[in-house]
Symmetry: C2
Subunit: 316 residues, 2 copies
């Protein structure tokens, strides 16, 4: 699976790497690992993000992200990372299609194969796992910096090796990343243990909205745009909120509703260990994995909550 993509990389000089918008740990860890890999091959490579990015990931990644969407030269190659479809590139879609060649490295089963070269492995727990494979295939030396980024990717998308997507292969890769000196303590503390004051305040707001349905089989939290704005959280800070309803011992479907701050719409995330939540998300124009999915729905929080919860009750 790496033959085509590695050929295309080798024959390109100027390469842009495009993580999806509101990039998470797997996406950013993968993008920066790829950046370091490409630079070690002598490429003129750059990661271009949709949003100005939290300090945290540039600390982890040991390199500054590029942030200019406008570029003067046309890239030889644009690589979308961890993007299920082209919409996930947001405003950078034009840049992506402007490249002489496009590629797409991803692990989402719903990937639409939107690029010239599609390197998709839906069996991978994380896009970082695919990049580890590419690195080995291309015989790129595993440095401590690449290891830190791939560890960030793997640990993020496997929830510290605890989700169902974790298998023996992931642990074998983790062992190699340890050997290369990955700072697993710092990365895991950073990803899972430490919170900003803003995030703690938003967790409080989320807990105050905690509700259960169907006798505790469904649990939800929600945060309003006022709360989000008042707390000053980043998108990353909000990713963990879904763990509050998930933690209820009786829960089968956990839902998190977040009002968007810039439009009258709500981001909805779903988690389950028993129900196909990708199906639920699809009903609202979203997608994702069977056990973790999401969608964005236009309208008011109160109405959306009602509609989504009754849709979940239907499939249980």
């Amino acid at each position: 699976m790496f033959e085509e993509i590695s050929k295309v990389i080798r024959s390109s000089k100027d390469i842009v790497i495009l993580p999806h918008k509101r990039a998470d740990g797997d996406c950013l860890g993968s993008a920066f690992a790829l950046l370091l890999m490409l630079r070690s091959l002598g490429k003129n490579a750059e990661v271009i993000l949709e949003e100005k990015n939290p300090k945290i990931f540039s600390i982890l990644c040991g390199t500054e992200p590029g942030s200019e969407i406008e570029r003067e030269i046309t890239p030889d190659l644009a690589i979308a990372v961890d993007c299920g479809d082209m919409e996930r590139l947001g405003k950078r879609k034009d840049l992506f299609v402007s490249a002489r060649v496009t590629a797409n490295i991803d692990h989402h089963p719903t990937n639409t194969r939107f690029a010239d070269y599609n390197c998709i492995d839906a069996s991978a727990a994380a896009t970082g796992q695919i990049l580890f494979g590419l690195m080995e295939y291309m015989k790129i030396p595993l440095t401590k910096e690449i290891a830190n980024n791939l560890y960030t990717a793997l640990s993020s998308d496997t929830g510290r090796f605890a989700y169902a997507n974790t298998d023996s292969k992931i642990h074998i890769i983790a062992a190699k990343l340890h050997e290369a000196g990955a700072d697993h303590v710092g990365i895991n503390e950073f990803l899972f243990e430490k919170n900003t004051l803003s995030k703690i305040m938003l967790m409080r707001d989320a807990l105050n909205s905690f509700e259960i349905f169907s006798g505790g089989k469904i649990a939800s939290v929600s945060v309003t745009r006022q709360q989000i704005t008042a707390s000053g959280v980043t998108d990353d800070d909000m990713n963990g909120l879904i763990n509050i309803p998930r933690s209820l011992e009786t829960v089968q479907v956990a839902v998190c509703f977040k009002e968007l701050t810039d439009e009258n719409a709500v981001d909805v995330s779903f988690r389950s260990n028993t129900i196909d939540v990708a199906e639920i998300a699809k009903k609202f124009g979203g997608g994702g994995h069977i056990r973790a999915s999401g969608c964005t729905i236009a309208g008011d929080l109160k109405d959306i909550k009602k509609t989504v919860i009754s849709e979940i009750i239907k499939v249980m």
Copy 2:
């Protein structure tokens, strides 16, 4: 290191396995893994616990713990598991010394080598790691049940592979436990993720009381006896509340105040990575470790909070 202990096991028939009192995940996972290993060798083996044990671990372990301290026959071999010294055996010390031969399998660097045969590896992250080595040495087949117990041990004592004690060897073992079918999702969820509704409600109350002092170097939460009674939590449920102030990225001292339900007094817990909180607890008649301490103070929550926080500010 396994030559002696495996000989002694092979030459014994009736074997008791003794985890330390108030046994944790590593201790119980190791003890039950050893039990299954010994039974697969045809031994008459039994785990004997100090306390009646939480349902949870017998679920994980897939076998019922023995609970009788009085035994009619003298065991050929008593094996202390994960015990740094003989005092950790509590009331079962007499049973231990009554055995024809005693052994001691442990990873604590302070182990006093109190048995006839001491199988100690202070470099092991968990006693479960030593048992995995013993299992391979004795060529005992790794069943799914043994894998579940060893995974419980490893994941507990490495904090889901996140503590500094985790290395590539631990991940290699985890990979083998995955291959044998360990239920990593269920075990990790059980160990780290699941809360009762009562606990979630009390976390909400604690978050609503969240306060910072000294620009975020000190953070506290408190819960009242009314909140504790209304939520119906157990003492175990309350142990995690201190992690809320601990998680603040700027915090140096985290404090949790819990009103006692049966008297006009408050339980205070302290955590720090930089300050000697045992000293602070001592000022109020308490004690503990440098990084984790506690005390009980008679009086009203409001006054006690004020006094304790100003005492912490003094030492910072």
